[in-house]
Point group: C2
Chain length 600, copies 2
């Protein structure tokens, strides 16, 4: 098997760190017992391991193909997608009202993760459909919901998000696509959209494009953008796909990775205008998009974790098999599996520590989302919602940045074989490279973290996180006094140092964002990474405390957790001081900003 | 022009940091004036920019092709190679006695760099020829030198290095290729060699393979390996290529990058034995190889710097062109070139600081090489030789590791366009990934740095480097007291902290390498990176001092140097504390080594 779902660790995180039992107590989640959860993960793992994982390399070697406006998905994808629909996976966390299973995000998170680990190119398709579903749930009319949601939630039809244009990437203010009102109450859509994931394909009989465009009298900039639904085939009265709409896929991109996932250039309106239906109100498109984006960004963060997990599994398997060189401690006269060499262990431990800690933070975020939706206490709902919103740019930014390091180490563990495409490690390195870019680059996440998530509430939520870390630090200190395991002392020392660095960074942002915005935003990505390392380290500290208590129950699993947490403390957490130095030194336009444009 | 040789910075490093004038005073280098040096760089830059650089993307899109045992180089490569030979570039630093130009390594270094920046796949071919030349100069018989060196040094014939076999990569003790003595005084060579760069091609009429193999009675392990010369065509009496030798290219690899550079599987002896000629003495092959390897490893370090430079140039050019989003400081109402956004500046400054500092350290190492060869004082020759040997694993390991970060940032600066192959940024990201692997992985470099370069002399050379850094720190301190530029204070503070971390790491290695080798070697790569950051930072400190003195002569150039050094101090040097923590915490088998093989 090229991928084995890490169900044991997923269950550990869900139950011990992310409060599965608390989530199960929320209204409507009574079925979410540990047993059902385990059963769902096992069923998903079977599908992912047996059906999707083997197609991952197939898709890389046989990318989706464009031909005369049509796109054929990679071999085997159409059949696998039919099984995906059949299994009801698309509806996992969507409302039962429209045919979904209405499960909490905390349970959807590991399911998302395993899909993405098994086959990231494949998994981007249902992710985009999730985005379209969220948009319709948020702002669609009752008729739109009734017409489209059952088809999308069943997975029968797929969805896309059409934001980017050649001149408008991170900057949606520059968007030019036009929407002209027509006499039938619909709109005629004109324009070119690029980077449209699964924008055209043959896995589903219809594709529902969500498109940002401007109406004729819209204000300039981001306040004049509306959201439209543009189906590839206009539905007949009976719901079946009818007339072909005026949207054409003119090409797909030749990419570094994710080659099975077609990235389309879509041309709207070349034959008189594509028929589009306004979603919600005019000029509120960007607002709807931002709500959806939190879901999409969380999902991309999960992609980073998922690809890191798969790269780790492959590297660990190779390191156990490949025999080369005698051990430096003289414990064998002959060559040994390379996993016994200290540097290989260091690389694998780095991959593992980064991946597990990011998984923990992401699942914890998912549980805040569930509590924000369904907690009986309104003020607690708001509080959990604020924490989730705060964590989203960190989960997106940090989990995808670390996936670059993990997939790179995955190649390195393979030595020269890692550079040969047939080995497979290189695919993860290539695939991962888009993750810190799409759905908002790491800098865009950092801007969000600074502006909307740290400064807007005066640092209130950020400081709440520090207070929670302090609780864990107190537990660590008590435990370190009573227990000879040096992991507690090490974790206490390095988490404390990291937390202090994070507080200094928060204070820096609050003090300077207005008075010296260049300095603040020059430190944005370091601030995001610092926050990611500390918050993930906090999860590792929590894992350490729990695991030490339970070690006797399963010495190998909990022992590995303890060792990984210890490694995280001594190898990952110390990086925070460098980020703090970067942030603080940007003050006064030193360093980063001193070079003028022409000097580069 | 897709690549512009950074002649100004090269000349700055050569003259101000690496002592070009001192090198020119050595015997035989009287012609190496600043003027000739500049003229040679300009001529090289013309060839690299106009001929080689445009073929870089051609080669990536049209890899070398294998067909029935023959390999056709990518389109245009054969013609470019003819121009390379015509220009005499292969002989740059080789002896005049065999037709070379006998220039110092300090001058060869920038020439190597520009070749590799312009077209890394192309440049690997002459690099391997350099290796074959070094081997023959070191251990070839007078007859072998007379027969092969003029052909290799002119560039007419090319060379290869045949070390790796499927079961013997980093571990050459496992090598199995056989060499049987024949009655004609030659040997018959049998075996399979893999990963042979430019092992077969059509750019030259003959290829001289240097092959490691075992004679029948050789001792087991690395002490029973001999070095053989196996020409593709056995030379006729008149020196022209004669009978085809029994070595066949059975395939070439499908790789992540460096696609124009054919990586061959060579089969020796399937038709009765390839004719090989012993170089030097039997069983001393690995010893010769190690001498050569210092040259090859330096050259691969230059590859890291070269690809980083090219990725930087491309990213800076894009950032100046691409218009997107308003500046955070409100200095414009409309969108601006992205180079004006603080995070883009941070990324470009990181790319630039890493690249320039690594260039400086590599050229300084080259000048130690020249002094080690030709200084009139024997004890100083030895001293410079020891410093060069110490610096080689750092130049190789650190310059290639940083090339991963720089090429990755190069993609990130391009946003979504970076993931599209046609943009070109992705090629550098792919090409660079082999650099920390071939010619010895970073862990192998770290083992060399610890074992042969730090511990063997009891830390003498490593501590000499600290003493030199202390001299620079004293200068910085004096300057900081007299000058209001905060760069001096910042550099003093962070270089001092880095230097202390480096000293602790050296002491750790000396104390633990024997008593706890696992702990020492688990900290090997962090020790190498820490040393790289500090030693490169030291060069930036020296550049800062010189540039501040000369600023008035060329305010833009020296001002940029000062700002880059300042950035290095506050953004790169602070990383050393995390590496120190990693190294020291490996003691007592904590962290890295606590997980047993089965727990991964």
């Amino acid at each position: 098997m090229s991928y084995t779902t890490p169900i044991r660790d997923m269950m550990f995180v869900m139950t011990e760190l992310a409060g599965l039992d608390t989530v199960a107590d929320l209204a409507g989640y009574a079925d979410v017992t540990r047993e059902t959860t385990q059963a769902i993960l096992e069923e998903g793992a079977k599908f992912c391991g047996e059906v999707l994982a083997p197609l991952n390399v197939t898709g890389d070697r046989n990318p989706s193909q464009w031909h005369d406006g049509e796109v054929n998905a990679s071999p085997g994808f159409k059949e696998a997608f039919a099984q995906f629909v059949e299994g009801g996976w698309q509806g996992l966390m969507h409302p039962a009202e429209y045919g979904g299973q209405d499960l909490p995000k905390l349970l959807a998170a590991p399911c998302l993760e395993m899909l993405k680990s098994a086959n990231l190119s494949f998994a981007t398709c249902p992710s985009l459909t999730d985005g379209a579903i969220e948009a319709l749930l948020l702002a669609g009319s009752a008729a739109q919901r009734a017409q489209y949601l059952p088809k999308l939630i069943s997975g029968e039809w797929t969805g896309t998000m059409n934001l980017t244009e050649p001149q408008a990437g991170s900057d949606l203010a520059m968007l030019r696509a036009r929407a002209e009102p027509a006499e039938d109450g619909a709109y005629r859509i004109f324009g070119t959209k690029i980077f449209i994931t699964w924008g055209e394909h043959d896995m589903a009989p219809n594709i529902v494009h969500l498109v940002l465009a401007r109406t004729p009298d819209a204000p300039a900039g981001v306040k004049g953008i509306s959201l439209f639904l543009v189906p590839k085939f206009l539905p007949n009265a009976d719901g079946s796909p009818g007339a072909r709409n005026d949207v054409q896929c003119v090409s797909i991109e030749h990419k570094l990775g994710l080659k099975a996932s077609p990235t389309a250039v879509l041309q709207f309106g070349d034959a008189g205008g594509a028929t589009g239906f306004l979603i919600g109100e005019e000029n509120r498109g960007l607002e709807y998009m931002f709500v959806m984006m939190n879901a999409a960004r969380f999902a991309v963060g999960m992609q980073g974790i998922a690809i890191a997990e798969r790269a780790y599994q492959k590297a660990a398997a190779y390191a156990r098999e490949r025999v080369q060189s005698r051990p430096v401690d003289g414990s064998s006269d002959g060559p040994v599996p390379i996993i016994r060499h200290p540097d290989v262990k260091r690389m694998l431990a780095t991959m593992r520590a980064l991946t597990e800690s990011a998984r923990a933070l992401a699942y914890v975020a998912a549980s805040h989302f569930d509590l924000a939706r369904r907690h009986p206490d309104e003020s607690l709902r708001a509080r959990h919602g604020a924490i989730y919103d705060y964590l989203v740019p960190i989960v997106k930014g940090w989990s995808t940045e670390l996936s670059l390091e993990v997939t790179s180490l995955g190649v390195q563990v393979h030595g020269g074989m890692g550079f040969i495409e047939e080995t497979g490690a290189a695919q993860y390195y290539r695939d991962a490279r888009i993750l810190p870019i799409y759905e908002g680059t790491t800098a865009i996440q950092a801007n969000d973290l600074i502006g909307r998530k740290t400064v807007r509430d005066g640092g209130a939520v950020a400081r709440q996180m520090l207070a929670r870390i302090d609780d864990t630090l107190a537990e660590l200190k008590a435990r370190a006094a009573a227990d000879s395991n040096p992991a507690f002392t090490a974790m206490h020392r390095h988490l404390l140092a990291g937390r202090m660095a994070m507080e200094n960074a928060i204070d820096f942002m609050l003090r300077h964002v207005k008075s010296d915005p260049n300095a603040a935003f020059a430190g944005g990505v370091p601030y995001l990474k610092l926050s990611g390392i500390v918050l993930c380290g906090w999860q590792m500290a929590r894992a350490l405390l729990t695991s030490a208590t339970r070690e006797a129950e399963d010495p190998s699993f909990y022992g590995a957790k303890i060792a990984t947490a210890h490694f995280y403390a001594t190898h990952i957490l110390p990086q925070t001081s460098a980020f703090e130095a970067s942030i603080v030194s940007a003050r006064g336009n030193e360093g980063v900003l001193a070079l003028d444009d022409a000097q580069f």
